[in-house]
């Protein structure tokens, strides 16, 4: 029998009732890494630091009635249910493991544990696959008897929920919908028997003592529809459109998100009634959805034509201030990113990239800014335009001069002029390198002066124009 080894975790040949498990995990608290005999105090500590709460109680242990089983728990604000699939951090492996929680309980010593059944990544069982084809995001459910089937782990090793969908054609398995498949992190339709080390498409009646039905997809319940009452759900939609992850309709959101939304809606409606002059309530609907990194969002918006460059802002603006300004001025909700000030930026011109929700809105804003004027703080006149962005695919590196390499340098005399090395190098004053570096330095200084002069000049031009503005009521102090 070949044991399936998982680093840092010893599989327990369990005999029911609270087996001991080696800890695999970087846990959230340094104390966790040494789960030894004297842990009561430390356990108290952990639950004090990060919010933890048990959910509904289940049965008590058959052999040891001091063990209390539960059906769910909330850890750090996230609720995990029995038979959820989650990510588990396994020590020094780069990829977290995926497991299914089949039991969750608290020991008499107040240790919070769970029994998990493993899903194998194809890479982990490569040796026994022998060329069998598998999908990229496929997992194999552990089955059979023996090492590597299940483990007892402390709850703190969980590092996130995982959406695993079963695509098995077994008649006991409810078929997954297209949307569920799209949203899944992994799929599985085969089991890997840890005893015989063989893949199979057949599912036994029980795995690790648990009814196989719990491993299949959950029976479909009626999904509550989110009726759009106030303007808020529509805003959710528009935000929705800008993220491809939820590019399907907003009806097929994940269940937990729906519940969350229904609650939020009620509290927000109350806020909406209040006057806008008061401090704006924190309705950041865009945070409800997983956001792409800025690079991608900007590119997408640029392609869609909904990216606008706002100029002449204050450099000390924050993105939220920009968003609020746009909201006030045009009543449009947007996402903004300030362009970071660089050594060559104009001190008078703070820039921000603003992602609107559609091309029309962007057009509207730009035309408004052109025909009418938006003045911020009485001193900065905002200019809007469509920026010309760098082509991302076109990866010819931006021009950089100054790094010189010589071929065939094997000469001792020329030890200074090595080929471009990937380390840093301080030049000594008596080398050619030093002289050349000094030349560059001199250039840099010269250009610095040029830029300073340019901006000084520009400042004067701006000032002279502003002086022509009549009516001091319009101009506040330059902040």
């Amino acid at each position: 029998m070949v044991a399936v080894a998982r680093d840092g975790v010893t599989a327990v040949v369990g005999s029911g009732g609270g087996g001991r498990a080696a800890v695999c995990g970087i846990g959230f608290h340094s104390d966790i890494s040494l789960m030894s005999m004297h842990e009561e105090e430390e356990n108290e500590n952990v639950s004090g630091d990060i919010e933890f709460r048990w959910g509904r109680k289940g049965r008590v242990g058959a052999k040891n009635p001091n063990i209390q089983y539960y059906e769910s728990f909330t850890y750090d604000g996230v609720e995990h249910f029995l038979y959820d699939s989650v990510y588990l951090w396994c020590g020094d492996q780069q990829m977290p493991c995926v497991v299914k929680i089949v039991e969750m309980y608290e020991t008499p010593r107040l240790k919070k544990m769970m029994k998990v059944v493993w899903y194998f990544h194809p890479a982990e069982v490569q040796k026994w696959l022998r060329g069998v084809h598998h999908l990229n995001n496929e997992l194999f459910l552990a089955s059979g008897e023996g090492n590597g089937l299940y483990n007892f782990n402390p709850l703190e090793t969980i590092c996130g929920k995982c959406n695993v969908v079963c695509t098995s054609k077994d008649e006991r398995n409810p078929k997954a919908s297209m949307e569920e498949l799209k949203m899944s992190d992994y799929v599985f339709y085969r089991t890997f028997d840890v005893e015989t080390c063989r893949l199979s498409e057949k599912f036994p009646d029980k795995i690790a003592g648990v009814e196989v039905g719990h491993f299949f997809n959950p029976k479909p319940k009626g999904k509550p529809e989110v009726t759009g009452k106030s303007n808020l759900p529509s805003k959710c939609e528009t935000d929705n459109k800008s993220t491809p992850a939820s590019s399907d309709t907003h009806h097929s959101k994940k269940r937990k998100l729906q519940d969350f939304e229904v609650d939020k809606k009620r509290s927000i409606e109350a806020d909406n009634q209040s006057i806008t002059l008061k401090k704006r309530p924190k309705l950041d609907t865009s945070e409800w959805f997983k956001k792409l990194p800025w690079e991608d969002r900007i590119r997408k918006a640029h392609q869609a034509g909904s990216l606008v460059l706002l100029e002449n802002l204050y450099h000390s603006f924050t993105p939220s201030e920009v968003e609020e300004t746009v909201l006030d001025a045009f009543n449009i909700k947007v996402s903004a990113k300030m362009i970071q000030w660089s050594a060559y930026s104009s001190p008078h011109n703070g820039q921000a990239l603003v992602i609107f929700n559609s091309k029309d809105e962007a057009d509207f804003a730009i035309s408004e800014l052109n025909t009418r004027c938006l003045i911020i703080g009485g001193a900065r006149i905002v200019v809007g335009s469509r920026p010309s962005l760098k082509e991302p695919g076109n990866h010819h590196p931006s021009k950089y001069f100054g790094h010189i390499a010589i071929d065939a340098v094997k000469r001792k005399q020329l030890m200074d002029m090595k080929n471009a090395v990937s380390t840093a190098h301080h030049a000594q004053p008596n080398t050619i390198t030093f002289d050349m570096a000094m030349e560059w330095r001199a250039r840099q200084k010269k250009w610095e002066l040029c830029w300073d002069a340019l901006y000084k000049n520009q400042a004067e031009e701006i000032a002279s124009l502003k002086a022509r503005l009549k009516g001091s009521a319009l101009l506040g102090k330059e902040k």
Binding site: Q340, E368, C373, V383, L389, G402, M417, H426, Q458
Partner: protein, 212 residues
């Protein structure tokens, strides 16, 4: 007067204490950070970290993204363990040039400023009043001129950047040529030494050979 005032945000100029704390914390962070530019596009986070770890402890590296076609600056914000380390590095770098990932162009370091960061907290509870001015307003023309001026200034800046790049290129080629010429000279000397020409010449002219 057709002046449409859109909003007025909270007029309190005093920040609430938690925001105040956030702000001072951010200020500290800025003091510990170095703005480095003149970097080669091949420099990665790891390289930068290693390079600066010689002088202290790097706690964070953040590259400044370049979105626009007209901008070709490669810069990064490197946060050090303490303000002292940051200041020392900046001083060192201005005394002796540091080159990263290639020679001989040295990198340039200066103190970071608040505005260089992506995620700085609000400076103070700012009063943002925005006005919409309609064409009949007496200042409309001047305002239009100011807007055009912005565009003109942006174009000027872009042009200056181009000039700078061209200048960089020139220096690069110049240095490259000089270097090649020097290299040839050394090669020549080397070759001459290796094949005994030098020895023969020394014998011919009756001079001594200084071993270098």
């Amino acid at each position: 007067m057709e002046l449409a005032s859109c909003t007025s945000q909270g007029t309190t100029k005093v920040m609430d204490p938690s925001a105040e704390e956030e702000y001072t914390a951010a200020e500290e962070k800025v003091k510990k950070t170095i703005y480095i530019d003149n970097l080669s596009p091949q420099v990665t986070k790891v390289v930068l970290e290693n390079a600066l770890n010689q002088f202290g402890n790097v706690t964070n590296v953040q590259f400044i993204p370049n979105y626009f076609t007209s901008c070709s600056v490669n810069a990064a914000l490197v946060e050090m363990e303490s303000t002292k380390q940051a200041e020392e590095i900046i001083r060192e770098m201005s005394d002796s040039p540091l080159m990263i990932s290639g020679m001989p162009r040295p990198v340039r370091a200066q103190k970071a400023r608040f505005e260089m960061f992506d995620d700085h907290p609000k400076k103070r509870q700012r009063e943002i009043i925005c006005y919409r001015i309609f064409p009949s307003h007496p200042n409309f023309e001047v305002i239009k001129k100011i807007k055009n001026l912005t565009k003109k200034h942006a174009a000027e800046a872009a042009y200056l950047m181009e000039l700078q790049l061209a200048d960089d290129e020139k220096l690069h080629h110049q240095q490259s040529d000089t270097l090649k010429a020097n290299y040839k000279k050394y090669e020549l000397i080397d070759g001459a030494q290796a094949d005994g020409t030098v020895r023969r010449l020394v014998a011919r002219y009756g001079t001594k050979l200084n071993d270098c």
